[in-house]
């Protein structure tokens, strides 16, 4: 049992002080920051989170100030932003304007305009909000639910394992995209919305986490130190919390950061097919849906939202990688 051997001494005798320090949040953060790519990942995540936070605050402040019916936003007063949703009246905004580096482009619309004449840059910036909030919320649901189910299932084995795993497999058996579309369309009675998508995505991701942690627990369960803990009369609950979960945790935590990316991917796919965010909400997937019809005439419409998705998910993935290296004591430096 080569994998467990390195931890034998610490696990058997209880964590000593410097081990405590090695697993602390400050230590992990410092280690992530040492890694250049992980640091950049964190920067991207931070920027995307700040942008989302700003757009949430702005739209709420604007609603409070100008009333719910008004579609004016504070951001509009800044020279770089336009209104993310309002379609300019005929004759005022030109549709399908190419980006600034193009001969027909202009600085007032650095990324061009969409077919309705709205500033594409503003819509891309506001698009962060939907992706990020859905990504984080649903991953959290999946992470918490899956860790509990997976750990209990893998540790106890037998009937409990069978029952939980059959339930998990049932939900997991149907591809998330299909299950979420069916859920969204039927529950909403044919008028899909992003709210249904959030709930659907959250539930469907519990099984992913449950299976991953269970397969880890399956091999951890066979380790000698679990045997030792059992022999010395440690309660099952404590074995799961203190030995099984920590030793199976690293892959799951890394999977969670990567899962935020996967969730953003799925929601983008949902919106692309028309079952996620609905127009006029500025959402990257939804924008790709619109631009799909302009592939021959305006290539840029298809490129920007995809790049936004790519950069955001890459940020989460780079950060996840760094977290993996920082948290996994099994990888030596």
């Amino acid at each position: 049992m080569a994998i467990g051997e390195g931890q034998m001494d610490t696990d058997a005798g209880g964590p000593s002080e410097d081990v405590e320090a090695k697993f602390g949040w400050r230590y992990t953060f410092a280690k992530v920051m040492q890694d250049t790519t992980a640091r950049w990942g964190l920067y991207v995540v931070a920027v995307v989170l700040l942008i989302s936070a700003y757009t949430v605050v702005d739209s709420n402040l604007s609603r409070l100030t100008f009333g719910a019916m008004s579609d004016f936003t504070f951001a509009e007063t800044l020279p770089i932003f336009d209104h993310p949703e309002r379609i300019p009246p005929p004759g005022q905004g030109e549709g399908n304007v190419p980006p600034v580096f193009h001969a027909d482009g202009s600085m007032s619309n650095p990324l061009g305009t969409d077919p309705s004449g709205r500033d594409y840059f503003t819509r891309i910036v506001y698009g962060a909000q939907v992706s990020v909030s859905v990504g984080i919320a649903s991953t959290l649901i999946g992470f918490v639910g899956g860790t509990i189910i997976g750990a209990v299932s893998g540790f106890y084995g037998g009937r409990i394992d069978d029952l939980l795993m059959r339930m998990v497999e049932t939900v997991y058996a149907i591809p998330p995209l299909i299950l979420i579309i069916v859920f969204t369309v039927f529950v909403s009675g044919g008028t899909p919305d992003i709210t249904y998508a959030i709930i659907g995505v959250g539930i469907t991701f519990i099984p992913v986490f449950a299976r991953i942690i269970r397969s880890e627990v399956l091999s951890v369960r066979e380790m000698d130190y679990i045997e030792a803990a059992k022999a010395s009369g440690v309660k099952n609950r404590n074995i799961i919390l203190r030995h099984v979960i920590p030793n199976s945790f690293a892959p799951v935590l890394v999977y969670a950061t990567l899962q935020i990316g996967v969730t953003i991917l799925i929601v983008a796919g949902l919106s692309f097919l028309g079952y996620g965010a609905q127009p006029p909400t500025p959402d990257w997937g939804q924008m790709l849906n619109v631009s799909h019809g302009y592939m021959h005439s305006n290539v840029w419409l298809s490129i920007w939202p995809g790049l936004a998705i790519l950069v955001t998910i890459m940020g989460f993935n780079l950060f996840g990688d760094g977290l993996q290296d920082a948290l996994d004591p099994r990888i030596d430096d």
């Binding site: 049932t170 058996a173 149907i174 299909i178 069916v182 529950v187 796919g269 799909h292 995809g306 998705i309």
Partner: protein
């Protein structure tokens, strides 16, 4: 527990899952507010009398559990019901569309495995060297990009800009060359590959990247194992260590991921078929959703769920076969 008995056990275990899938699908399909016939008409004005007659004809006026029992009785006999909207048996509609999806998913997996495993091993053995960095960047972009956007970009570059490859449709190798007007089987094979190339890469990239990351991590961990150190101390050649000791241990999670990702691949096929205009089950599903053809939606969901269950059984069995450390059933 022997492997054979475990296999039989696992197949029997799958039955509740399959029943569970039908229950979930049935409940979801009947969660819809309003009756299915009205939902299907999407707001069109029709006489109440007509609606009632259609409901009676398809047994929709009976209570939910009765309908479920009837549905299951038919399902066991391979009958997935009748699509009211299309007036055709669901089974027949699906069989027509299964081929393209299977062709797409299998070729995407072949592409993913053929690239991911060698690249992952190379990255692990040359850790922190340029080769490692390049393959990590490729994997990173792969897991960070929506498959449908890769598809759109591939169409923009290879179909619209360069005009090298077709942007939509598939050529099916099981049809005769005459059907397409090709000169022979060689051209049929060539055209099949030509049409398959872009959607295969679009669907396979995510799988490739995921598998490569896992392969790399596992190989690194595996190469740091005590047994590898011991083998090195005994003077076992590095190649043998890689092939016999490190590689085998590292494959266990790969098998898990392949099984688990089958679901993502089947879901991804919906998007890729939409982007590339492929007449597979994914497109059929979208068409069914659009017309709220709930018999067809249930049929597709159940069949895709069943496909995944079979995939997981195969995964679990090969799991036990490869890793002798994992014991099943009787504990202690």
């Amino acid at each position: 527990m022997g492997l054979l008995r475990y296999t039989a056990f696992r197949v029997i275990q799958a039955i509740p899952v399959l029943i569970g899938i039908t229950v979930i699908t049935f409940i979801l399909a009947n969660l819809a507010p309003g009756d299915p016939v009205r939902l299907m008409l999407q707001g069109q004005e029709v006489d109440q009398e007509v609606i009632e007659r259609v409901e009676r004809q398809y047994g929709l006026d009976r209570p939910l559990h009765e309908r479920y029992v009837t549905y299951m009785a038919n399902l066991v006999q391979g009958d997935l019901g009748h699509s009211i909207h299309r007036d055709r048996p669901v089974t027949e509609l699906m069989i027509q569309r299964a081929g393209p999806t299977l062709l797409l998913v299998i070729s995407a997996y072949a592409f993913a495995l053929a690239t991911a495993i060698p690249l992952g091993i190379i990255a692990a053995t040359r850790r922190n060297e340029p080769t490692d960095h390049v393959s990590r960047i490729v994997a990173l972009i792969g897991v960070s990009t929506p498959s449908f956007w890769i598809g759109i970009m591939l169409i923009l570059i290879f179909a619209i800009q360069l005009g090298w490859l077709p942007s939509s449709g598939l050529v099916y190798p099981w049809r005769s060359p005459d059907h397409y007007g090709y000169s022979g089987y060689l051209e049929l094979a060539f055209q099949t590959i030509r049409h398959l190339l872009l959607p295969m890469v679009a669907l396979g990239t995510l799988q490739m990247a995921t598998l490569m990351r896992v392969e790399r991590t596992q190989m690194i961990e595996s190469l740091q194992g005590e047994y590898v150190k011991l083998a090195r101390a005994y003077g076992v050649p590095e190649r043998t260590i890689l092939r016999k000791h490190a590689f085998q241990v590292a494959q266990l999670p790969i098998i898990t991921i392949v099984g688990l990702n089958l679901s993502t691949a089947l879901g991804g096929a919906v998007l890729i078929e939409y982007v590339f205009n492929i007449n597979g089950m994914g497109r059929l599903f979208l068409e069914a959703i659009q017309s709220l053809d709930y018999q067809l939606i249930m049929g597709i969901t159940i069949v895709i769920g069943a496909m995944f269950v079979i995939g997981v059984i195969i995964t679990d069995i090969s799991y036990a076969y490869i890793d002798p450390r994992v014991t099943y059933g009787d504990r202690d």
